[in-house]
Amino acid sequence: MKNLLFLFAAALVIFTTSCGNDEGSLELNFVNTYEGEPIVLGDAYQFNDNVNIQFDKIRYFVANVQLMDGGTATELVDVDYLNFEDSATPDLASAGKTLIINDIEAKSYDGIEMNIGLTQTQNDSKREDVPAASPLNDGNYWAPWESYIFITLEMRADLDNDDIFEHNLVYHMGGNQAIRTKSFSKEVDVMDGKTTTLNFELDIKDVLIQNGQEFDIFNITAVHTDKDIMEELADKVQAAFKLN
């Protein structure tokens, strides 16, 4: 009897050791900033000496998020929709949005990559075929585009320093040509039983003013259908998206 109990206990120890001890978690945190400061919706940010802007909506899809290890990819997130509608206080703006992925093989990876926007397969899927619980259904699908809106940036500008933000800026990016992949070469250690945090930052000042070049917010007040401008903005978002 004693022998049987001993064998059972030993098997239990071996079983639990082999099953549970080589996985960890990743916390992917996304924060929008303006010149490094978390963006609080409704607060004023300086575009240039004469113009201030306020943010009303910042929303975007991330898709196909995967850890890279040599040529091997470990998928973390198929798709998620990041809607920063509650970034209405400094604390909430600093907190941003967080995706938590559990049960990842614990080891050292050499990079992470993701789409800002959707993959073509996701974007081309018929709406009625998308599972009800999919984050795709949290975003907007625009039938005339035959596309989801990948990135929504809606702002108001005060062009004459009178504290009245009367100049509307509505920039929507979508369509398969607006898909952008961002890859980061960085050692990511997923540790047994622990959570590793990665902090992603989208600095929107870098979207609006890149390499000293101001985006023409004075004349380009809406971007929905002009594919060239949409692609230009998608490029700027891609460049401004960082892993700290």
Binding site: G42, D138, N140, Y141, P144, T221, T225
Partner: protein, 376 residues
């Protein structure tokens, strides 16, 4: 030695858990009072599959409230039954009439004791697709939560849920219907939460659009079904952003086809406000607690819009012409006015074309469907 001690304990625990299981079944040692017993009625629910319209998203159904034929039947009865009100004079349908596109066509809805609310009744067609929050301010996250509130609202049905539950238990039919829908074994197991679940199930079946002129011509593209020239021009201005030389009326940014809403909260410029505290009705801001949400309200669907006047959360516009005039003017300025609100140069003819298009969103087949009308 230890084993000898542990074994009897295990046997005791097993015996206890088995006996508990018997009691929880409602039989065994504590037989149900015959007056309270519902087990003579069969509980054999039939899953109800919702219509999946082309182009529509799949509806998110909560795991704890699957849709059944029996649940929908009960929910429909509760929706139309004045038993939910304090004096048995009003029901959900009193403010959500089928012929009014499931609104009451009043600026403010009148409650059981003659009082009026401060907002107009919302159209509730396709409400099952709403993932952003019910009511004009999104105060309820789910249909199940929403269905609970009007009963105890003093300017609506002004009843007490405990009374309603008692009325259900005394009713000739409801105990059986609750049993058939949810499998409860006793009358005392009838609760407001089950009533809300049933109403929510019924509301999720209210899928509108497939028999409208727009849907048949533009989505299904049925042979011989075309929009009139006026309505077609209206559609272009509604959604195609300057194509065909017509102005972009920018409607579809918020009224996104095919649901013709994004269920989002927006300030569409109804009121002037110098600061975010200057709104009479904070709307979404009163719920979220964020000043930037003050003056924002839920975007309603446009299905059957021609039948749901008056318009806006406070019913201030009596006609679609007034609505078009408002949007073309960009509305009134305030710090939370939506960036999509801009001056739009529309001629009277162009406005009329957009209204012609809006009329193609009327689906009277849905409104006259017996499934969505009174069972009494």
């Amino acid at each position: 030695m230890k084993f000898k001690f542990v074994f009897p304990l295990l046997v005791l625990a097993l015996t206890w858990s088995c006996s508990c299981g018997k009691n929880s079944g409602g039989g065994g040692d504590n037989p149900i009072d015959p007056e309270n017993d519902l087990t003579q009625f069969t509980y054999s629910p039939t899953t109800k599959t919702l219509k999946q319209l082309q182009g529509y998203p799949q509806m998110l159904i909560p795991d704890d409230n699957p849709i059944t034929e029996e649940g929908v039947k009960l929910g429909r009865m509760l929706f139309f039954d004045p038993i939910l009100s304090v004096d048995s004079s009003m029901a959900c349908v009193s403010c959500h009439l089928p012929e009014g596109g499931f609104t009451d066509n009043q600026r403010f809805s009148r409650g059981v004791q003659g009082g009026f609310g401060t907002r107009s009744s919302m159209p509730i067609q396709n409400v099952g697709y709403n993932r952003r929050g019910l009511f004009w301010d999104g105060r309820s996250e789910t249909l199940e939560d929403q269905a609970l509130l009007p009963v105890e609202d003093e300017v609506e049905l002004h009843e007490d849920w405990e009374n309603v539950e008692e009325k259900f238990r005394r009713h000739a039919d409801y105990p059986r219907l609750f049993r058939e829908a949810f499998g409860i074994e006793t009358k005392t197991a009838i609760t407001k939460d089950l009533a809300a679940k049933a109403i929510a199930q019924f509301e999720r079946t209210m899928i509108v659009g497939e028999n409208s002129e727009y849907y048949e011509a533009e989505v299904l593209q049925l042979p011989g079904r075309f929009l009139s020239d006026e309505a077609h021009n209206g559609l272009i201005m509604f959604q195609e952003e300057g194509a065909s030389g017509l102005p972009d009326a920018q409607c579809f940014h918020c009224h996104v086809p095919p649901l013709f809403t994004d269920f989002d909260f927006k300030n569409n410029g109804l009121d002037s406000a110098l600061t975010l505290q200057d709104f009479d009705d904070y709307g979404r801001g009163a719920i979220s607690g964020f000043d930037i949400d003050n003056g924002k309200f839920s975007t309603p669907t446009l299905w059957n819009i021609a039948l749901t006047a008056p318009y806006m959360h406070d019913g201030r516009f009596e006609t679609l012409e007034e609505v078009l005039d408002h949007y073309a003017s960009a509305g009134h300025g305030s710090p939370s006015r939506d960036p999509l609100m801009n001056d739009i140069a529309l001629t009277d003819e162009q406005k009329a074309d957009i209204i012609a298009f809006l009329h193609t969103l009327t689906d009277t087949t849905f409104l006259k469907n017996p499934d969505f009308n009174s069972p009494f």
